[in-house]
């Protein structure tokens, strides 16, 4: 196995900060804005973005956790059938929701996440923020905020490690030989 | 036509004969038993039984042949085919046919049919009461005339003690045994043994005392009128205990158990396999151990099959509504030989319970290997391992809880009345 570092600890922090700035800029402030992280790592990224926005704007955005298992189109092909809780403690109606995920590839996760949120109400708009866009889309969805892009080969895997779950912060490309 | 069985280990539990001997059969009789006989005359079939055992043919005091009336379950033809495959040369068939064997005409029918189609000897058992209703005595004398060798209302007990008393007394006229199915029907509203397994399965259950109460009643009645009594398919520790105690004071008690009661327990019912549904039900481990001990200490005199064949649809239903019974003729010998393999009984002790004791109960001149006696005998090997396959049963009843089980000991040849009635395809020699 060979690995290549896409983002180190510092780079990851800079990227999250940039996304936070872009969100504020694009929405001309933070009014009626909320963050929903897709389990597992999207949740931690969303939380970091929320902290950064709080630093900049002094406002704590409503924050939710989304488990998309029930909405997946490959639910019966999963290695583990574990379903975790979706916890969105605010009313999504008329909100601008920033959906946060770690890696975007096919777009299927995003599709499932959008469906899951739509079943909770009628948000004004949903935007998508991802740390890494690795291309190879299968559905017509695209991120509004992408930390960085990397066009990966089929034998490559983009791995996001976050200290909250993986004890360190980095994004690497792992190539199986 | 003559048969010479050479080089086999010949055992005769009655005389104690045991040795590598040749047996010469001429016509229907055993002519000679000696070392190294040669086949004199031209028309002699020689069977090389080297490495095998030659024993008297097995006698079953308790089987259901279902004919007349339930020919889709079994016929006299298929039932006796199953019998000879299993090593039986004589079987007694119970009266719960349709019509019930409670009259001379039904007895005549069974005997005539068995003579023309039967692969082995068939001795009908007549009903004690008309239509097995437990109300009035059947015409026992006429049936004896026609050929019954015992009477029984098997399937249920004679509930009315007064009627049973009269049957016990009346049977003395003919010197035939009363075979008693022991079950208190008010305590028997169930399908499995009442114990830990029934607690787990939630199936309605029958306590062991349902049998024991009637065992004690029947013994008490028989002793009072000084009649012989035979208690069939004994299944519980309490019954064995009651019989052992009673035999000390009163000698005219005999009893039998069946291979399933010393081979498996009520644990087998936990998967709801309807082939484990039998009456009396498969009992607890303690009961099974007591049955084995009862066989060892001769409280139990006879091993019977209670062969109860059923067609698939009687068993392919929910446990509650499935028919009771196990198709037993084709597994009885191997299951019984386990007692020898386990060191519970010697081969001679086991064969006494399968040959001479049942012969004595039914008053039959069979169950022996002796010059001058009728040639009803088997060649078997106690070591051959085989897997029970219900689909290869000759019996129409494929209802066995032993399907797929590895058993040790196999019947190879059955000779009835001097003729080969069954030869196992694997037998060479």
């Amino acid at each position: 196995m060979r690995t290549k570092v896409l983002l180190d600890k510092k780079g990851l922090e800079r990227t999250v900060n940039r996304i936070a700035h872009e969100i504020i800029e694009r929405n001309q402030g933070v009014e009626a804005l909320s963050l929903i992280g897709i389990r597992t790592r999207g949740v931690h990224l969303a939380y970091r973005i929320r902290e950064k926005i709080k630093d900049i704007e002094g406002i704590e955005l409503p924050f939710g956790v989304l488990d998309i298992t029930m909405y997946r189109d490959d639910v019966f092909k999963l290695k583990s059938p574990e379903v975790k809780k979706t916890e969105i403690p605010f009313d999504v109606n008329n909100m601008t929701i920033i959906l946060v995920d770690d890696v975007m590839q096919t777009g299927r996760t995003t599709r499932a996440a959008i469906d899951a949120i739509m079943d909770l109400g009628r948000p004004k708009r949903i935007q998508l923020a991802v740390l890494i866009d690795r291309g190879d889309r299968e559905l017509p969805v695209h991120p509004d905020y992408a930390g960085s892009s990397y066009t990966a080969n089929p034998e490559e895997e983009v791995v996001v490690r976050l200290r909250e779950v993986d004890k360190k912060d980095e994004v690497v490309v792992v190539r199986s030989q | 036509m003559s048969i010479l069985i050479k080089n086999g280990r010949v055992i005769d539990p009655k005389s104690g004969l045991d040795g590598i001997l040749d047996v010469f059969i001429e016509g229907s009789l055993i002519k000679k038993i000696d070392k190294t006989l040669s086949g004199e005359g031209k028309d002699v079939e020689v069977i090389d039984a080297a490495g095998h055992i030659v024993a008297p043919g097995l006698i079953d005091v308790h089987a259901h042949l279902r004919e007349p009336g339930y020919e889709w379950k079994e016929t006299i033809r298929t039932g006796t085919m199953a019998a000879v495959k299993g090593g039986f040369t004589s079987i007694a068939c119970m009266a719960n046919t349709n019509p019930v064997n409670d009259s001379k005409s039904v007895t005549d029918y069974i005997i005539t049919k068995a003579r023309s189609e039967g692969a082995c000897r068939v001795f009908p058992c007549g009903a004690i009461t008309k239509n097995l209703k437990g109300e009035e005595l059947a015409e026992i004398g006429e049936m004896v005339e026609a050929g019954i060798r015992a009477i029984s209302d098997d399937g249920k007990s004679v509930k009315n003690s007064g009627i049973l008393r009269k049957a016990l007394e009346y049977a003395k006229l003919f010197n035939i045994p009363v075979i008693s199915h022991c079950e208190d029907e008010d305590l028997s509203k169930g399908y499995v043994h009442e114990g830990r397994a029934s607690l787990l399965s939630g199936l309605d259950a029958v306590p062991g005392i349902a049998e024991e109460i009637i065992v004690r009643r029947d013994i008490t009645l028989a002793a009072y009128v000084d009649s012989p009594i035979h208690l069939t398919h004994i299944s519980t520790a309490g019954s064995v205990d009651a019989i052992r105690q009673a035999k000390k004071d009163y000698r005219k008690i005999t009893c039998d158990t069946c291979p399933h009661y010393f081979s498996i327990t009520d644990e087998a019912t936990l998967g709801f396999d309807t082939n484990t549904k039998v009456n009396p039900p498969l009992r607890s481990r303690d009961d099974m151990e007591a049955i084995i001990e009862g066989l060892r200490n001769n409280t139990i005199d006879i091993i019977a099959t209670d062969h109860a064949p059923h067609e698939g649809t009687s068993k392919d239903v929910e446990f509650d509504i499935a028919a009771f019974g196990i198709s037993g003729l084709e597994t009885a010998l191997a299951l019984s030989l386990a007692l020898v393999h386990q060191g519970v009984l010697t081969l001679h002790e086991l064969f006494r319970k399968l040959t001479i004791n049942p012969a004595k109960l039914l008053g039959l001149p069979y169950g022996e290997i002796k010059a001058g006696k009728t040639a009803d005998l088997i060649v078997f090997n106690p070591e051959i391992e085989w897997t029970v396959d219900k689909n290869s049963f000759f019996s129409k009843g494929k209802n066995t809880p032993f399907h797929g089980r590895e058993l040790r000991g196999k019947n190879l040849i059955t000779i009835v009345d001097g003729k080969i009635a069954y030869k196992d395809p694997s037998f060479k020699g």
């Binding site: 488990d67 298992t69 029930m70 909405y71 639910v75 019966f76 999963l78 290695k79 583990s80 059938p81 574990e82 379903v83 975790k84 809780k85 979706t86 469906d115 899951a116 079943d119 909770l120 109400g121 | 009442e194 114990g195 830990r196 029934s198 607690l199 787990l200 399965s201 939630g202 199936l203 309605d204 998967g271 709801f272 649809t313 392919d316 239903v317 929910e318 446990f319 509650d320 509504i321």
Partner: protein, 307 residues
């Protein structure tokens, strides 16, 4: 954790981990019933058949709602036992249903082992919705879910089950499930209604209601199973009610925060009085709500099993 079982025929056969996995999965599914849009697409295109040989409103409805909230198609077959005795055997019914390619069949039957028989015949998943006096696994799972929800844990709980234990599949399944945890289980009823060998299952038999519920965390009352001949085991319903009916004054003997459960349908005024059934200790309606979540979890896991 992975799920490998095709069928849920009983609590027997489930490990402690599997029981907890179902309960944990149910936690996630419960929230769906509390939303405006009470539906997720998880089982879209799957077909669930309920085959009920015994009348039941709540269990069948609970399964049906569970299936529908997961977007499965449901078909209800009420097979009356009388016509079934005359006509089609369970085996034939099973084969007929199998030909219609359901993904899950939920069966309720008055005879123990009927679901096991069905499971041997069909390739689809089978869920035991109650078989005679044998098992009612989803009821026990929802009961454990409710106990855990209210008490935080199952370990250390003292549970008194009151009533017609011998005929109760609910009691059996609960006992089988609770045995996996550090619980004290007491079964209380007249001696005729307590089956022999209960002690072998680690259950304490008790004939006094007051003793049974002393210091109890959970009291579960059961109804007399009239359809299983339960009435013949007691002199009269009135006498039973006097001796074993749960009244408000009894609750003072139990722990302060005792919860009262009943699998339903209740016979008010017989095994449970109004002031208990409708009182603050009662979690009977929570059981009903949790039943849907647990059944959603069961359907989801059986269909999501490892091939």
């Amino acid at each position: 954790m992975k799920w490998t079982k095709k069928d849920l025929l009983g609590i027997t056969g489930l490990s402690k981990e599997e029981i907890l996995f179902i309960l944990d999965t149910a936690e996630s599914f419960r929230d769906i019933s509390r939303r405006d849009v009470k539906k997720v697409p998880t089982l879209r295109g799957k077909t669930v058949i309920t085959l009920f040989y015994e009348p039941s409103t709540r269990t069948r409805t609970s399964f049906e709602i569970a299936a529908k909230r997961l977007s499965a198609d449901t078909i209800n077959i009420a097979a009356s036992t009388s016509s079934y005795v005359k006509g089609e055997t369970l085996k034939d019914t099973a084969k007929t249903l199998e030909a219609m390619k359901p993904d899950v069949t939920i069966i309720r039957h008055s005879m123990p082992g009927a679901p096991h028989m069905l499971a041997k015949i069909v390739e689809s998943s089978v869920v035991n919705g109650g078989d005679g006096a044998h098992e009612h696994p989803t009821q026990a799972l929802l009961d454990l879910f409710t106990m855990r929800e209210k008490k935080g844990t199952l370990d250390g709980l003292k549970i008194a089950i009151i009533g017609d234990i011998i005929h109760s599949r609910v009691a059996r399944s609960n006992i089988f499930a609770l045995r996996h945890f550090d619980t004290e289980i007491i079964c209380c009823g007249p001696p005729t209604m307590l089956p022999p060998h209960l002690e072998d299952l680690g259950v304490k038999p008790e004939h006094s209601l007051e003793k049974a519920i002393r210091n109890a965390d959970v009291i579960m009352t059961l109804r007399i199973q009239k359809e299983r001949g339960g009435v013949a085991y007691i002199p009269s319903i009135k006498e039973y009610s006097t001796m074993f009916g749960l009244r408000k004054e009894h609750l003072s003997k139990a722990k302060k925060d005792v919860i009262v459960m009943h699998p339903g349908p209740m016979n008010r005024g017989i095994e449970i009085m109004d002031d208990v059934a409708d009182g603050t200790s009662s979690v009977i309606l929570d059981q009903v709500e949790n039943g849907v979540a647990v059944r959603m979890a069961v359907l989801y896991l059986l269909l999501g099993r490892e091939a």
